[in-house]
């Protein structure tokens, strides 16, 4: 598992050593590598949490119903987190996603209440999400405004628009109870549809990031845009498309959310802003060594969801859930940062020191060449 630098030339050790993305190590070794603490530490923490709550509240926590509840209540958070995974892989923030969720939910609800049929209303709602994605992309990529500030601004504008149009009142009506409600409320053996959507989107994003050239280029863009550009990667195009995708996915998540609520609330999306970012950043510490990835995001959503659900069942005070999220985040990022420093210690480049938290600037020492003089 070490990434030390001694050893023979590649030619003498064909790709059977290590967890090479290109190699095909034996299954047992691969499994051992995949279960290592530095890759899936959150899974062990999750197991520990399950054990703690099973002991703490043995009557209500370790039941199938609780498991289903955790899945059902966190599916929307999962969708929201997945929506921002792709832009973050390219180191683009989309802070407007929560407002897009609200917007698209409100739009579909308004249209349905106004008498439009389900499918056209859904299409218009999704179109609105894509449109916001397009606006974000123009602001960030064409106008070259920092994505953090740019999407914060568009998010603020979207919220203003929503409040203006809805007069800050929830859109509701009998029209929302039929087919629209089924999108989010139908359940199969106690598992609601949003869980299925979340799983499907996770698989799609996993495939994109892991098994396509586009995914590799997204990561390259995120890690070193200058080098990527020189190697022929269409950096700006990827950033542009990633914002379109997050707009569309956030729109879909917002529609699903409105369906589960049975109404179009003018503030429905806002509560998902921080949990989604928390999950994505925590997820980046899992599986892929600092890369934002679908699997890690899902693990993180489940870990955080299990903890907060457990605390609620244990009748712990309200503030304990927020505290739990904060502690887990800081602990995970700190552990990852320490591990990474230990792995690459002495390289002097400091590039890994920042961990995933330093999203825009990789680390302190990047501009200090190791041995370069000129």
């Amino acid at each position: 598992m070490t990434t030390g630098s001694s050893g023979g030339a590649l030619t003498t050790t064909p790709p059977q050593a290590g967890r090479a993305p290109t190699g095909g190590p034996p299954l047992a070794k691969r499994l051992a590598g995949a279960m290592a603490f530095d890759k899936v530490g959150a899974v062990y923490v999750w197991i520990a949490i399950v054990i703690v709550f099973s002991v703490w509240v043995p009557e209500t926590f370790p039941t199938l119903d609780t498991a289903k509840q955790i899945l059902n209540t966190n599916a929307i958070t999962g969708l929201a987190a997945l929506a921002i995974t792709i832009p973050l892989a390219a180191r683009v923030f989309d802070l407007s996603f929560a407002y897009v969720m609200t917007l698209c939910g409100v739009i579909v609800a308004e249209l349905m209440v106004g008498g439009m049929a389900l499918v056209p209303a859904l299409l218009v709602g999704l179109g609105a999400g894509l449109l916001i994605g397009l606006i974000n992309a123009v602001v960030v990529v064409v106008a070259r405004i920092d994505s953090f500030i740019g999407t914060l601004a568009t998010g603020s504008l979207i919220q203003a628009l929503i409040t203006m149009v809805t007069d800050d009142t929830t859109v509701s009506g009998v029209e929302l109870s039929g087919g629209f409600a089924e999108i989010g409320q139908t359940d199969i053996a106690g598992i609601t549809l949003p869980v299925i959507y979340c799983a499907l989107v996770a698989v799609a994003i996993w495939y994109l990031l892991e098994h396509t050239a586009t995914g590799r280029r997204l990561y390259a863009t995120g890690f070193n845009p200058d080098a990527s550009r020189l190697a022929g990667v269409p950096v700006n195009k990827l950033r542009f498309v990633s914002l379109l995708i997050s707009g569309g996915l956030a729109g879909a998540a917002g529609i699903v959310l409105a369906s589960t609520l049975g109404s179009g609330s003018p503030t429905a999306g806002t509560p998902y802003l921080l949990p989604a970012f928390a999950a994505v950043f925590l997820g980046a510490t899992q599986l892929k060594n600092g890369r934002f990835n679908a699997g890690g995001t899902i693990i993180a959503v489940l870990l955080l969801g299990t903890g907060t659900t457990g605390l609620a069942l244990a009748a712990a005070p309200q503030w304990s859930q927020a505290m739990f999220v904060g502690i887990v985040l800081i602990a995970a990022l700190a552990v990852t940062s320490i591990q990474r420093r230990a792995t690459v210690r002495g390289r002097g480049s400091g590039v890994h020191g920042g961990g995933v938290a330093g999203t825009d600037q990789p680390g302190v020492g990047t501009s200090t060449p190791v041995t370069t003089e000129d």
Binding site: S5, A9, T11, R216, Y219, T372, D374
Partner: protein, 529 residues
Amino acid sequence: MGDFVTNEPRAARPLGAAARNGGDAATAGEYALRVFSLSKTFGATRALQNVSIDVRAGEIHALMGQNGSGKSTVIKCLAGYHQPDGGDSAELDGESFNIGHAVPDGLRFVHQDLGLVLELSAQDNLALHGGFAKGFGGRVLWREQEKETHRMLERFEVHIDIHQPLAAATPVERTVVAIAAALQGWHGGGGLLVLDEPTAVLPHDEVERLFAVVEEVRNAGTAILYVSHRMDEIFELADRVTILRGGKLVATKDIAEIDPRALAGLMVGEDVDPDYRAPVAGKPEAPVVLETRNVAGRWLRGVDLQIHKGEILGIAGLAGAGVLELPYVLTGHAPRGDKVTGELRLPQESSEWRDITEADKLNIPLVPADRQREGVIFEFAVSENLSLSILDRLGRRGKLGKREEAKAVEEWSDRLEIKAESPGALISTLSGGNQQKVLVARCLVSEPDILVLCEPTAGVDIGTRVSIYDLIARLAREGLTVIVSSSDEGDLLAMCTRVVVLRNGRVAQELDGDGLSQQALVSAIEGEN
């Protein structure tokens, strides 16, 4: 005033001779700075091995060496950026300190990038280094501050508007402000000022002004460690010189007892014969594969080139001549916002001229100058770094073919003899030379006809350097056309079949690589005919 125990009579050096006016107050010791066996390792690279340096009080001591010799590492250790692996003991003015753990007050630095905030004024920049003059409640006493700023700058006869952003000042004025900032609160009498390549960004005619400032600092009794790889400066300015090569101390010499040729020999060493030539053959009769017409940009003022198949064309020139710009323009990667004009064509493919800004659509890959910033993706494995340029070709219907990728990576690692633990190892675990080879492989894996290299051996150790020369020569013999732009004459001498010298953005001279001597190349670059 410092003492000058070790005065050597030096004749006819325009500035140095005038400097010998000290000699009183023998309070400080004989040496301003003594470094005892400093060592530093980065991963697999031994950047410094037992390097000892003695700088006498009140002297201008040059620290010389080629790229990768360890000059910068010495400075970064002294400044506390790096912790040495061993031998951290040192003395400043007779008082011992531990390198990398403490920086004594008398040790001051002007780094190559000057450490200035160009958006701020001279006054603010000085205050950032030395602190603001403050009154009750932390209020800045602006009038005091202004007076202090004027006082500091007057010493060096710089007359600039101290309230204007430094971006408006000339390069030499900025350098002087950086020196003034570094010396704040230190008014002569011992100590050491480190100047790291201060002339690298200066136009040629402003260098003399900087020298006058350097002399002024020395006359106030402060010794100077002057890092450079420019011979002419060293002979004009320095009293003694310490030469590093491959992270080891080669020698410390009085300038009076050494000539440029001997100094060059010491810098280059025996591992690499200064007359080493990778086996290449000039092919003027070979067909032209790349032609440019009137290429202009930020520095370039109209460059016409004709490059023949299998040729290794060197681009040489001083900073600001366009040497660093040309490779980026040729490959269609000029910085955003720079206005670039000109045309190029590939006569083998079509006789039509194309706008040079479309060059990125041709398959002319670039190995960039700054490996860390523009080349390597540190979070990626060796294999991922290597295959980045050919992801399109790997696999089918959008699915990335990991097996094909592994095959390509293995083949090129093999051909370039890249030393890595495994293709899946992070590239940051490789030595600088091997990282460079991965970048060359990234370019070659797309099977181009023309390859452009910028500073191909920066930060590459001597041994690997020769293997890179040989590699490029071999590729050229196999029909690859190579354009090499380098500020290191050694690169150009070692492998180029032809060298084009740029001056003021234009082709000033063309030299045949065969039998080209270092002197001839250097004087062509400097414009002395």
